[in-house]
Symmetry: C2
Subunit: 506 residues, 2 copies
Amino acid sequence: MGKDLSQFIRNEAFLNKVVSAEEAASWIEDGMNLGMSGFTLFGEPKEFPLALSKRGEKENFKVNLYTGASLGPTADQSMAEAGIINLRVPYQGNATMRGKINAGEMYYIDQHLSHVAEEVRKGTLGKIDYAIIEAAAITEDGCIIPTGSVGNSPIFVEKAENVIIELNTTAPSAYEGLHDIYVLPEQGDRREIPLYKTGDRIGEIGIKVDPAKVKGIVLSEQPDIPSPLFEPNEETQQIANNLLDFFAKEVEAGKLPSSLAPLQSGVGSVANAVLNGMKTSQFKDIEVYSEVLQDGVFDLIDAGVVKFASATAFSLSKKRVDSLADDLEKYKDKIVFRPQEISNHPELIRRLGIISFNTALEVDIYGNVNSTHVSGTKVMNGIGGSGDFARNARITIFVTPSLAKNGAISAIVPFVSHIDHTEHDVDVIVTEQGYADLRGLPPVKRAEKLIEIAHPTYRPQLRAYFEEAKEKVGGQTPHILEKAFSFHTSLKEKGTMLFQENEVTN
Amino acid sequence: MGKDLSQFIRNEAFLNKVVSAEEAASWIEDGMNLGMSGFTLFGEPKEFPLALSKRGEKENFKVNLYTGASLGPTADQSMAEAGIINLRVPYQGNATMRGKINAGEMYYIDQHLSHVAEEVRKGTLGKIDYAIIEAAAITEDGCIIPTGSVGNSPIFVEKAENVIIELNTTAPSAYEGLHDIYVLPEQGDRREIPLYKTGDRIGEIGIKVDPAKVKGIVLSEQPDIPSPLFEPNEETQQIANNLLDFFAKEVEAGKLPSSLAPLQSGVGSVANAVLNGMKTSQFKDIEVYSEVLQDGVFDLIDAGVVKFASATAFSLSKKRVDSLADDLEKYKDKIVFRPQEISNHPELIRRLGIISFNTALEVDIYGNVNSTHVSGTKVMNGIGGSGDFARNARITIFVTPSLAKNGAISAIVPFVSHIDHTEHDVDVIVTEQGYADLRGLPPVKRAEKLIEIAHPTYRPQLRAYFEEAKEKVGGQTPHILEKAFSFHTSLKEKGTMLFQENEVTN
Ligand SMILES: CC(C)(COP(=O)(O)OP(=O)(O)OC[C@H]1O[C@@H](n2cnc3c(N)ncnc32)[C@H](O)[C@@H]1OP(=O)(O)O)[C@@H](O)C(=O)NCCC(=O)NCCS
Ligand SMILES: CC(C)(COP(=O)(O)OP(=O)(O)OC[C@H]1O[C@@H](n2cnc3c(N)ncnc32)[C@H](O)[C@@H]1OP(=O)(O)O)[C@@H](O)C(=O)NCCC(=O)NCCS
């Protein structure tokens, strides 16, 4: 690395701390708790976890890995492959790691993203032995400038015994100034979080760190990790249209202005299709107060649809990763990244009156939502921030295609096999069949609406369940517990949730 | 009524509005939305709903009834008996009404108590045609002084087209000054809620009302309605001891000070036993930031254990109802009543770092909690504020006896038949068998702890389920969906959740 380090490490107390990734990795002991930067593959250290994984191939040790959210191939994947993780908190989205978790080869706590910092403060997750933070620079006054996410880095740095900085000398210098680092004091000593508009800046541009705690600085030239590009297909486009239709009706009814309300959107194909659809919609001057910014947000800023976006991380495709340095300069005054405790904080979500939409795996006829577990047992990714937003949003929306696995699975079922969001929290469900506005409806009326937006193939057997439950059992929330999971057991036994009689008659 | 009304109605604009309850009841039309004061039987109008129910015996009409929380014999019960309720929101606890709801004879939306005011603001529940509010007085500047609860009265009065005041001339005059009425503006226009300590006063002592909206004042001499007195028995005492033991361990470990943290407690027998147990415990100077104040709180103030208590309503036994006027004078500077939107607000619960404990109906082996539905179908009371606290508390605790119905029911089951609080939100479960501290544990380790605090009779069949699920299915959260409700179906078919083989071998 022929680069002049003093350009990146602008405080002398840090200059003599540069070590190799291997040396830094050698400091880690069996049973340690590591707090790592990183969120939706952005802003994570790469050289350090690779070196640690490599060490793990020869040595026998395990660590507990805490992060912002999901990490990529150099961290979650390589560490899972090396078998060096005992416990992973709070979110992952990696196929290899998921496999290990579901095989019982490592532990996983699927935790609300806004809760992690509080749990660290309270000591529930033990002390943080090492914080390992990717940085774009270290400033004159000893602040770490994060890269493409903030996540839980500020609390990890504050509470860690030791800090390792992975300085990425290829990170766009325009990362500096993007972040707004605000850390809460202990509970009981708190005032308000003084954020009243999505664009308010309330903290510092970097994470203050005591140089004495910084045990080493690892250098990296690894680029940001792109996510798959989600192009809308017919189905996601139809879901997006239905959601936009719902928004339009709310505006027509005078319940929302044409700028809607600050918007949180999940990541993935549907979210991207919605953002795409908004480009040519009637909505203007929208503010985004979300967790993650996908490609679409830049286009929407260009189109004048979005006027400001607050989040804790990027999740960008290859194309946008390549232009990121320029984009950061261009959109600097329209974007801010905050700690996930702030982007997902109940105080702010309720105060700002966020409209939230996230993707569900399955939804039951009364509006309970499963975001995490396939057939109730195998975890997919995790609840992420969906609960933080769902619980406190002005309007809580979940979207899902009505079918999965070529029709073998109905996303609307009698009883979800795992509940992440309860009937008390869910307002609107959108599929490609339409939307079900559940607000102000008791359970039996919600079921009517939800059966309507199931796929037509599954409507008869959903209706049959609901009618039988009303007739034979009744109650506020009619169910026949013996048959509540009949869709899931049919899937297991016959490879499809579709019952024989329906297959014939439909 | 020979009383001098000017003593109660201290603003002239209101003096000529007195009407009979019958007349006021005659104004109500089929399909109207009524927003009524009242919470845990305190502070509800009594003459008006009785008159309306009487009218309902002869006339055919139905109304939608929105309140703070549960009402008593003169309101929920008489209106349910008269069959004049179409929809009830957000909470009830009356046997007659529960029967009607579960028979499908009226609708019920079981809603988080902190959400109701937002739903009214957003118009989800339609416009409020009439607010009917029990008052202890109307002040010189035209404020309604509430009685033994605040609930949702402020938002009902603000949004209602018409207001009926039920002036209770027997209400203790010391109610005046007890309340702290703070109403939030629309979402998007909000600043912080400026409450930083449980005792902060941030609003007015009464509910400001435009006299032009007040269509009538009904007079009442009906006393406050007492709740049953819950004397600790061996079982609730043991649950209380276990919970106090948990608190003591937290203090020992330096995780909590001896004043603990502001406490929210549910109502009922266990809550009362805990409060009772605290009288002689090591804990001092505790602050209460809760929803409801039961008898115990006065004794704890006397004992120096509690130094301040904030809530939205009383729930008192006959003994304490009788001495209430004196008690209010005595404890005036130690108690404050707030709107339920404030007592249960996520911003404040998170900021203050509340410790919350509420009663569960059933809990599953992974820590999901059912607070509302017996066998998943018949609603008991409702979620009340338990979700508001559970979701945002510093420590979220649920308590329950390990058995119900003389042992025919285990409160710990493989899969709860309804989920009100998810695994992501639940920290500690306490039964008379002990406590399970689930914090920092992945699902399979939670199950180990939870099976330990099930009743010994049920442990073998819980363990058998868990072991079979791990072996045959595995995954992050092992379940055998075909058998997930086997406890419940056994109860239905054989009258007990206990399986034959266990009955024999235990
Ligand atoms: C729910 C979630 C998994 C959907 O992901 P997605 O990529 O948008 O949607 P997809 O339709 O591609 O579904 C992903 C996979 O789940 C499968 N799936 C979907 N519904 C299913 C169901 N009911 N049962 C079983 N599998 C299902 C799909 O077939 C697909 O499988 P594949 O990867 O083998 O092709 C994802 O949004 C998630 O993890 N959400 C929880 C966290 C969250 O909401 N975060 C954002 C807010 S902060
Ligand atoms: C859960 C709740 C019903 C328990 O009430 P409680 O009076 O403290 O407890 P009890 O043990 O007396 O139980 C009440 C009834 O439920 C029955 N019950 C308890 N567990 C049961 C179970 N798992 N299945 C079926 N019935 C059960 C009891 O047998 C009892 O029946 P009975 O009235 O016929 O005797 C009550 O606390 C509640 O409604 N909670 C939800 C709202 C809330 O938490 N509010 C407070 C915070 S704001």
